[in-house]
Amino acid sequence: MLKIENLVVRYGMIEAIKGISFEVNDGEIVTLIGANGAGKTTTMHAISGLVKPAAGSIMLDGTDLMKIPAHKIVSAGLAQVPERRRVFAQETVEENLQLGAYTRKDKAGIAEDMERVFESFPRLRERRTQLAGTLSGGEQQMLAMGRALMAKPKILLMDEPSMGLSPLLVREIFHIIEDINRQGTTILLVEQNAKMALAVADRAYVLETGKITLEGTGSELANDPRVQAAYLGG
């Protein structure tokens, strides 16, 4: 579904991503793990068009995402739950969800999907008319996920969904990720919480200072001594 080839991203003189290739197949959960500064968020931003790559290609079902304007990427079938959630704090929960469906025109479908989001996240329904900025961190994460789902994406990118949440909430968020995947959405997940990410992932890649150094199934990498030493606390 999503195929990245020889992606290079530069910030001025610094090469943040040094020619990485990976792919996400239909129906999979694929995770990119790596330390802070390895280039995970930069990769996500490049795919979503927030930064312009210097070289490489990003193909989504035959569409080259690097050749279309950034705001058209959502209509191509890709939505992102950004790092630190970035909900619109000054707008209500409902308005945030409506903005998630910004590119869609099917009113009935939008209403149906909003109902589905409220079923998956009952707390968002309770807080429907509240400003998003007044929600707790966990609720904001749910809103950011619901907002991305409102675009009805084929593939959902999630950047550090567990960041800043209590262990209990982290487990809940990962259950939801698996649910979303079971309902047919392909997922590319970026995480510092390698243990949880590898547990839910079909396949995984390890990103180190802009390069992919290891790849395998989730369980292969979880059992790899190098991964255990570096990312799973021995």
Binding site: S48, G49, L50, P69, A70, H71, K72, I73, V74, S75, A79, Q80, P82, R86, V87, F88, A89, Q90, E91, E95, Q98, L99, G100, Y102, T103, R147, A148, A151
Partner: protein, 293 residues
């Protein structure tokens, strides 16, 4: 009674400032830039309405509409040609460019229409409304201006809060990157913002020239700077702030002229602004701002 009549004419003047201030505040809120050419868009709007009425003999309403079209197109073109290429540049470059555009418009107007003052035709039959057995007289123009301001405020608030484009506008004001992730065409939203601000400038131009009926190339400078002050006063970036700031500024200016000194009125207005900003740096209704310029 005199006080009441000053208050109403102050509200009238303030309404014009408020409508202009909206252009500053909306553009600032979304593009994070101070569009110093906004006052000169008012000037172009005034000329457009002037020629529509005198040379083409169009009725007032049609002239206002024509002037709005001219200003809207001008605003969008200025943004596309002068500001859009600087999206990634420093704020200072954008600010200097805005000042450049301002001079370009002023000098262009002088070249095309000379610097001599033209007399703006009256848009109302004149006269005033007599209340309390003639003890209070309110000019129809003040009433019209206040009503237009209220209508603009209601329409704009509904637009920004209820329509999807309005919600997208607020999203862009908050976080352009996140807005892009929603599939919002941020450039288009910025264009719409300039279009609305410039269209409102045309309305303000006609109301302003109806009160002060001379049209000349630097006509926009003073109302522009006052309205900018009003926007800062109310809290730049905030739409209700622009209204409140504009109205208060008009009232303060009129009262200062009436009771203190015509010559010192402007100084008093700016002194009040300085005091407000000392006490509340983000303006009356503004949120915290960390922007330079």
């Amino acid at each position: 009674m005199a006080l009441l009549s000053y208050l109403i004419s102050g509200l009238g003047l303030g309404s014009v400032y408020a409508i202009i201030a909206l252009g500053y505040t909306m553009v600032y809120g979304i593009a994070k830039m101070l569009n110093f050419a906004h006052g000169d868009v008012i000037m172009i709007g005034a000329y457009a309405a002037f020629f529509a009425m005198t040379r083409f003999g169009l009725p007032v309403l049609l002239s206002v509409l024509l002037s709005m079209v001219v200003c809207t197109v001008l605003g969008v073109v200025i943004e596309r040609l002068a500001y859009k290429p600087l999206r990634q540049a420093s704020n200072l470059s954008v600010l200097i460019t805005a000042i450049g555009v301002s001079y370009l418009l002023q000098n262009g107007a002088q070249l095309l229409w000379s610097s001599s003052t033209k007399v703006f035709p009256s848009i109302l039959a004149g006269g005033s409304l007599q209340l309390f057995g003639g003890k209070l007289s309110v000019s129809w123009l003040s009433i019209l201006t206040i009503l237009v301001c209220i209508a603009v405020m209601v329409c704009l608030t509904l637009f920004v809060n209820k329509t999807l484009t309005g919600k997208a506008m607020r999203a862009c004001a908050e976080d352009k990157g996140a807005a892009l992730l929603m599939g919002i065409n941020v450039d288009r939203i910025i264009s719409i913002t300039f279009a609305i601000g410039s269209g409102l400038a045309a309305i303000a131009a006609v109301l302003f020239c109806a009160a002060y009926p001379s049209v000349y190339p630097t006509l926009g400078s003073m109302p522009g700077i006052k309205a900018f002050t009003a926007a800062v006063f109310g809290g730049i970036g905030s739409i209700p702030g622009a209204f409140l700031g504009g109205l208060l500024l008009g009232i303060i200016e009129t009262l200062a002229k009436a009771y203190i000194s015509t010559q010192l009125a402007d100084a008093i207005v700016f002194a009040v602004l300085i005091i407000v900003l000392l006490i509340k740096p983000s303006g009356l209704l503004g949120r915290k701002i960390s922007e330079k310029v």
